[in-house]
Symmetry: C2
Subunit: 419 residues, 2 copies
């Protein structure tokens, strides 16, 4: 009997993480002689600990195929990082117990940096605890901060959404600036790195002369210089778009959103870098403003996914299975960029020891000298990642046909486990 | 020589107002024997007063056709309402002066309620001031509050964007609720009526059991009942999505966003109903939350326009010209719903005297008995308006090909005019 596989989704979900799940499950189904069933962890690794497993073999081929165009995590995700073997032996023993009970020999973990660390620890079970399991990490994160791989599935689609939305909103403000809004502020995700904020810079190109000021987490916020830049744009164009990363900080290290605001009851500030930036512009320069906070809309926006991104998400899931079948353990399939124009890429392989706990920052030469824009090198990097459209199907009512799986549980065999 | 036409965009722009411009200009180009040139007002009616006219005959057929899939107002818009003839005779005399100087016999005004009033006043110039001009209003407003017409171009596309985005974000939260966000709050436009908020209710259907709580401007906010509803959903589904209209009010009439919040410098609140709602849920119920404010993203989102909406926007622009050529004045072409399922519609005609200053509210039987959802009658009304997709083209870099017109000015003939 071939071994079964465990698959789980981890961390913040994306528009295309289910495309990776689709790649894993379809590749496994193509090798029934080598892989038995794919059991998905309900809510990520927590499902493995609590023995809450979803039997993907109970889902139709059509339902699995529909994962390719369905955003979010179809099996549930979690924010839960395993401690080290030494610190929490109990959890690893439980994992082995569950894997043994369900005859699991493959562990596919689909997530970002913290998850790569978890996957790396699981990959050591074989050597350190004598339990044979092959652990392969499938990269995913809108933060685009995993090392070695050219980019991370999930990022390209957020980048496309932010680039397109920034262009659309900028056109809107440009139309209205004579008597109404002059400054539009859009807050985007990215607590540690400005990858997503950088995508806002794509709204402008040789055909679209849009004044965009980007506030990166990588650049210390200089209020006076920022005001001068916004003023310069408004005087030249009559409007200005500001894309602010949630990770942008005051010189003293506090996030811009932490302004010490209190409500009538003395509760701490309501959050949001965008309203803070919009208000400071109004106070200093008097411009009428609007602001938006994209939040989950950006990472869930499967309706505007990048085709590159969807294809890579699927290909990395598929490659993970094929690498497992080739006998690999403790690795992550990667995207290797062969050329930017035209965009050519292939699948590579990285050892998890070099992935876990390494954060890829944005190169400083992607940020323009004044700190408020992106360079041509950055555009050359970003454009391929947003290329192509990969629309979901819509039903007759005009709504996307996203799939919700049946999610039938694998019968439990073990006692409860407290996490 | 046939008379020239004046066309202008007014009020908040939409994803499809340029499709109406396209309809007007293409219909006029089809009748060179009856209509000379179409001059567009730069920044709406202000362009007529300041004699800043854009010569649309200088734009290629391709550029005009591209307006059909370009969001925003290609000629600029404004928020500027003409006073009555008696109150501001000077402005009407100036309009006549400009119209005479440029041989304008047709006035097409593309806007919402305030604009319909302006258009109505212009339509009376003939009778009251002896200047022959035919004034036709082309409806447009995301607020969907013009009377007589089944719906207003612009609304269907916002509704589709909010319905789809709410579904996507809800899937996201559903994935994460085990260890992360349990309540997601999305703020949408609609200061006076809950049409756009209602569209959030479309995220759930017979295949999508999503717990959505809508806060309508039409329903007085009852904090305790709201908390109970959110709690009920979280206990049943483990998560809850809240769609809050910017127009939702406290029982004392203040907007929810006006919470008396002050920043460290004593400045008034930063605005946003979503953060206010999210924070009150956290304080009362302790749930982890995220919130988003869609703001301009929703009305500019041409990338997800409704095909029904685009077609109607175009058809109403085209009909306005044809009605003018039939000799009509002081009217507005309307959408007439023939049937909802399948959706059939035709073009009707309404006198501006019955349109100006009449606001269409949402029927109360569109809101569910508990005040937090939409009824089947509402869904029957809304679905046709979001049916079909009408994607823009994208370039090789993955960005939409939105057109920016040359916008060549018609040579001025008159002295300056102060507005």
């Amino acid at each position: 009997m071939p071994k079964n596989a465990f698959y789980a989704q981890s961390g913040g979900v994306t528009a295309v993480i289910n495309a990776s799940a689709c790649g894993v499950i379809e590749a496994a189904r193509a090798h029934p002689d080598k892989i038995g069933k794919v059991y998905a962890g309900k809510n990520g690794i927590i499902g493995a600990l609590t023995e809450e497993l979803i039997d993907t073999s109970r889902e139709s081929d059509e339902a699995i195929a529909a994962l390719r165009h369905t955003p979010s995590g179809a099996f549930g995700s979690c924010r839960y990082k395993l401690k080290s073997l030494e610190e929490n032996l109990r959890e690893y023993e439980r994992l082995i117990e569950v894997f043994k009970a369900h005859d699991i020999g493959y562990f596919f973990y689909n997530g970002g940096g913290d998850s790569a660390d978890t996957c790396y620890k699981v990959s050591q079970l074989s050597e350190k605890m004598g339990f044979p399991v092959q652990a392969i990490h499938v990269p995913k994160t809108v933060d685009n901060d995993l090392p070695i791989t050219d980019n991370c599935p999930g990022f390209g689609s957020v980048a496309k959404y932010i680039a397109v939305s920034t262009r659309e909103a900028s056109y809107d403000v440009r139309s209205m600036s004579r008597t109404s809004t002059k400054v539009f502020v859009l807050e985007v995700m990215g607590r540690h790195a400005g990858w997503i904020a950088a995508a806002g810079g794509l709204a402008a190109d040789e055909n679209n002369d849009i004044p965009i000021v980007i506030l990166f987490p990588e650049v210390e916020f200089d209020q006076e210089a920022f005001f001068a830049k916004v003023k310069e744009n408004v005087e030249k164009y009559d409007y200005c778009t500001v894309v602010v990363s949630e990770g942008c900080k005051w010189p003293d290290g506090r996030f811009l959103a932490e302004q010490g605001t209190r409500d009538a009851f003395g509760h701490a500030q309501l959050g949001g870098a965008a309203p803070v930036v919009a208000n400071m512009i109004k106070d200093a320069l008097g411009y009428k403003y609007h602001w938006a906070v994209a939040d989950y809309l950006q990472r869930a926006a499967r309706h505007l996914a990048s085709k590159s991104d969807v294809e890579q998400a699927y290909a990395l899931g598929e490659a993970a299975v094929n690498m497992a079948l080739e006998g690999h353990n403790s690795i992550m399939p990667t995207v290797v960029r062969e050329s930017s124009s035209p965009y050519k890429w292939s699948i590579g392989m990285a050892p998890l020891s070099e992935v876990a706990n390494v954060e890829k920052m944005m190169p400083m030469d992607y940020i323009s000298d004044d700190g408020y824009g992106i360079t041509d090198a950055c555009k050359e990097y970003l454009y391929p990642l947003i290329q192509g459209e990969a629309y979901p199907e819509y039903d007759e009512n005009g709504m996307p046909r996203y799939v919700t799986l049946k999610g039938i549980a694998v019968p439990r065999k073990l006692a409860d486990f407290e996490i």
